[in-house]
């Protein structure tokens, strides 16, 4: 097995996730895209862990999973809140930061 096949797979997933983040309008969808990105990162970690024969990659992968869980939790809570306030989770309608 090549190192690159995993890395490139991760890269592809990552870019798809990026596209999702940029293109999607629905907040939940955006969160999902972010999950894609995180997973691609995980794949990288593990691939390198195998390559270098070290174990740290695994540890970090686990941490990332945990972080992702937390992030999803908070993110969805935010989405709920937003929805409750403005009956919509369409991101392009939230432009409070508009100058």
């Amino acid at each position: 097995m090549l190192v690159n096949q995993f890395l490139i797979l991760a890269a592809v997933l990552f870019c798809i996730g990026v596209y999702g983040v940029i293109a999607r309008r629905n907040a939940v969808m955006v969160l999902m895209s972010i999950e894609l990105i995180l997973n691609s990162v995980n794949i990288n970690f593990l691939a390198f862990a195998l390559r270098n024969g070290s174990i740290d990659g695994h540890v970090f992968a686990l941490y990332i999973i945990a972080i992702a869980a937390a992030e999803v939790g908070v993110g969805l809570a935010l989405v709920l809140l937003v929805y409750r306030n403005r009956k919509s989770i369409a991101l392009d309608e939230l432009s409070e930061m508009k100058g």
Partner: protein, 164 residues
């Protein structure tokens, strides 16, 4: 090794397709289900990478918990379960060049730096004990930090989502 390569190819193909569907499909629930597929594929890849424990965690946490969360979130925000117009925002087309550019850069970097370097094949499965030794040994401090993060996240989620 061939078997592994074949397995990788199939799984990878499935993952890519699934991922593409996730970001293109016009139905939130479907997207969530496609995402499940991708995550499962990822778990499979972890196994190929001799990371059993991680793969298991992936299945438990992600496919178990996270996806449930997603579905709940979807329900609670009353996104209609059927097809939905305008899941993409007005400037979605920006995503394509950006991500393609990014992909190009990464592949360029990867190929130039790793060429066709092989992964070690003789390495045995990483034992859960080894991982736990790492976590509770040198990585104890980050572990604590992480626990705090989770705690904060839980509290934060509750605070945010409370109705009052």
């Amino acid at each position: 090794m061939v078997a592994q390569n074949i397995a990788f190819g199939i799984i990878a193909a499935i993952m890519v397709v699934g991922a593409l569907r996730v970001v293109t499909v016009n139905n939130v629930v479907h997207a969530a289900l496609w995402l499940v597929l991708v995550l499962a594929g990822a778990a499979a890849q972890y196994i190929l990478l001799t990371a059993e424990f991680v793969a298991v965690t992936q299945v438990l946490v992600y496919i178990g918990a996270v996806m449930v969360l997603f579905l709940f979130g979807t329900m609670l925000t009353r996104a209609q379960l059927g097809r939905e117009k305008k899941l993409n925002n007005s400037t979605w087309y920006l995503g394509i060049p950006t991500s393609l550019l990014l992909l190009g850069v990464m592949i360029l970097a990867l190929t130039s730096s790793f060429g066709n370097e092989k992964l070690p094949t003789d390495s045995e499965i990483v034992s859960t004990q080894a991982i736990s030794d790492q976590i509770f040994g040198p990585y104890l401090l980050p572990f604590w930090a992480l626990s705090f993060v989770l705690l904060v996240a839980v509290i934060g989620a509750i605070v945010l989502a409370r109705k009052d």
